[in-house]
């Protein structure tokens, strides 16, 4: 025994720094990760989301009705994006998740305000995401006391009581605002993505690292056959995970499930596309990295923005424009809409169109890149 030697500690330390410097990806991670996270999330994350998309169906075209809409926009919590011509069209916008607020102004609104006859406006809020719904509902609630200040002058502009009209707020899809209804289905997206991307990224890298790839490539198996053979078991893994998560979501959190066969079919299509897309992404990563550690790091590098920019943790509509553009590239963003839409809103294939197309497109692009990158040789 020779006690504690600082020289030996220093020897190990110097060795550790030397190896760290050689590992380019780790080195990049240490420098880029904090920078990227700070810039990306510092600017993107907003727990008080504004500028949520809204639709107004106004059967009253008088000044007072227009003043209500103008006041609503001035709150900055919503942007009126749609002026649907019918209730059916507005319902469709809501079900597809294109709007967070649907405001209906009845034909006799102005008349009843002027008569002081308890005028009402209907505000339907998409409460799938309670955070997003909260801000919008609060903004809508201020309308009765603020709407006509600009219209009325003098003594009439003073706050009046009772208010000139009332807003009836309907929270749709998740009326009690239960956070787990939003988070638990979202977790399925995160769990699938995290495990599948990482597992496939490592499955190939492990063969290279252990030297077994050399043997495998010397057999008649082609790169494509190896890829398909490696991915198929993980599709099964993904499906098993899905069943477990959905069963627990139902049993522990009473999360609603798809109600109809059409709903289940739509959900299944979405899940299979999402699983396959993630596997392809993992495989693509494995063609780039040199070690299992790097595969893990790149997977983490992919997961971080996925958590924040997909709408999993923060309402997607509340992200700034550039962050939404980045978010649209991430498959989790689209799958979140599909799974939440399916479980909470009863969406069917027709409602999921764009998101299914986005997942399909992602899968095709990544698969083409992967096949282009995978080699039957060691070159």
């Amino acid at each position: 025994m020779s006690g504690l030697s600082f020289a030996r500690i220093a020897a190990v330390m110097v060795k550790e720094f030397t190896q760290l410097r050689r590992d380019r990806i780790t080195y990049a991670m240490i420098l880029v990760m904090p920078l990227m996270q700070l810039l990306l999330f510092g600017y993107a994350i907003n727990t008080d989301p504004r500028h949520m998309p809204a639709a107004v169906l106004s059967h009253d075209h008088g000044r007072l009705a227009n003043a209500v809409v103008a006041t609503l926009e001035r709150t900055t919590y919503v942007d009126v994006k749609h002026l649907p011509g019918s209730e059916a069209e507005m319902d469709r916008l809501m079900r597809r998740g294109e709007i967070t607020l649907a405001l209906t102004i009845p034909p006799d609104f102005s008349e009843r305000v002027l008569k002081g006859d308890r005028a009402q406006i209907l505000a339907e809020v998409d409460a799938t995401d309670p955070t997003a719904a909260g801000g919008v509902a609060a903004a809508v609630a201020t309308l009765p006391s603020n709407a006509f200040r600009a219209e009325l002058r003098g003594p009439a502009a003073k706050p009046v009581s009772p208010a000139p009209f009332e807003v009836v707020v309907h929270r749709l899809y998740n009326p009690e605002g239960i956070t787990s209804y939003n988070i638990v289905p979202g977790l399925l997206a995160i769990i699938l993505s995290m495990t599948l991307v990482m597992m496939t990224a490592m499955a190939v890298t492990r063969e290279v690292e252990r030297g077994t790839m050399e043997s495998l490539l010397s057999t008649p198996a082609t790169a494509f056959e190896v890829m398909i053979g490696k991915l198929l078991p993980y599709i099964a893994v993904g499906l098993v995970q899905t069943v477990i998560v959905l069963a627990l979501a139902r049993l522990l959190f009473s999360v609603p499930m798809a109600q109809t066969l059409a709903g289940w079919i739509a959900l299944t299509v979405g899940i299979v596309l999402f699983i396959t897309g993630n596997l392809a992404l993992g495989y693509l990563i494995s063609t780039v990295v040199r070690s299992q550690l790097q595969a893990m790091q790149i997977s983490m590098f992919y997961m971080m923005p996925s958590l924040f920019l997909s709408g999993f943790m923060f309402p997607f509509a509340g992200l700034p424009g550039w962050a939404r553009v980045l978010g649209e590239i991430i498959p989790i963003t689209h799958f979140l809409r599909i799974i939440r839409g399916s479980l909470l809103k009863g969406q069917v294939l027709a409602d999921m169109g764009t998101d299914l197309l986005a997942l399909g497109g992602f899968l095709v692009v990544v698969a083409v890149l992967t096949v282009a990158r995978s080699r039957t040789t060691l070159d």
Binding site: R210, T212, M213, E214, S215, L216, S218, P220, T377, L378
Partner: protein, 310 residues
């Protein structure tokens, strides 16, 4: 020579990695049923050449046939009839012996999988340990298993990359007996090695250095072709002579072997002059047949001189 069938007949093989020209204009012809040893120092291009021949690497240039098939365009067909044993154990350590063999049988789409795997296990003498993880085997057993896996599909060509590195002498001998049995059955074997005793067990030898094939033929032909003269000096403390002799004119190499010293050169007269001062009691000098090792050390020295000169 052309009346016999060539298992490998390639010309002008080149391969570079970045600015490193690893294989330069290698032309090699291997007759069917022959065991050809591939020798050369580390990094000479042995592994790369083997990988080029079995389609694991794409050559920059070169043409020819492997097993009568165009080696650049028909790699799939060549792979089906070629067994390749990598330098590093490359079966799945987290699978059992039987599972590994079974996987190979499936990948090669072999009929009667159970039968073949059973026979292979029997030949290996591993029936009782079929359920053991491959990773738990000792070096010698891993190497035998790897050979069984590489020959399970009954290839016509077997490429072995330093198959006996780190294996004990008895296992090495058994391994070579097995290789000879396979070659007697018509299999062509190309094996890279560092061991001179293994080189001498090959039918013929190719010596590769800095990516170039610089000697080719049987051991006797290579020794005869080297024009090397070797003297063996014996006597107590003669080892000290080796150091001094090394730097004398006409001496290409001088190495001590216990109580003997091997001195080689191509110029007999110069060599005689160099050892003259040591031709006295108690030392005894005899001219001996140069060994392969003497020849290869000479070849290495010669080429490196050329290399630095150019």
């Amino acid at each position: 020579m052309t009346d016999t069938q060539a298992a490998i007949d390639v010309k002008g093989l080149n391969k570079s990695f970045g600015d490193k020209h690893v294989v330069q204009d290698v032309s090699i012809r291997v007759e069917e049923g022959r065991i050809t040893g591939f020798l050369g120092p580390n990094g000479a291009g042995k592994t790369t050449t083997l990988r080029l021949l079995c389609g694991l690497l794409t050559p920059d240039s070169g043409e020819g046939e492997v097993l009568g098939l165009d080696f650049r365009s028909q790699t799939d067909a060549i792979k089906r009839q070629t067994g390749y044993m990598t330098q590093r154990f490359s079966l799945y350590e987290d699978m059992t012996i039987e599972e590994n063999l079974s996987f190979i049988a499936r990948v090669y789409e072999l009929g009667d999988r159970r039968g073949r795997v059973g026979q292979a296990l029997e030949r290996l003498g591993l029936q009782d340990r079929r359920g053991q993880l491959a990773g738990a085997l000792s070096g010698g057993w891993k190497q035998r298993l790897a050979l069984a896996a590489a020959t399970l599909h009954e290839p016509r060509l077997l490429l072995l990359d330093e198959p006996t590195a780190g294996v004990d002498p008895k296992a090495r001998r058994e391994f070579w007996d097995e290789i000879h049995t396979l070659a007697d059955g018509g299999l062509t074997v190309l094996v890279s090695t560092h061991y001179m005793d293994e080189a001498e067990r090959c039918h013929d030898i190719g010596y590769i250095l800095y990516g170039r094939l610089i000697a080719r033929g049987t051991a006797a032909e290579i020794i005869a072709g080297s024009g090397l003269v070797t003297f063996n000096g014996q006597g107590a403390d003669i080892g000290k002579a080796a150091h001094e002799l090394e730097h004398q004119d006409g001496v290409l190499s001088a190495s001590a072997f216990g109580a003997a010293v091997h001195v080689s050169g191509t110029d007999r007269a110069a060599l005689e002059r160099a050892i003259a001062p040591w031709r006295k009691s108690p030392f005894r000098w005899d001219e001996v047949e140069p060994s392969l090792e003497d020849v290869f050390i000479q070849l290495m020295g010669k080429t490196s001189d050329d290399r630095y000169a150019s």
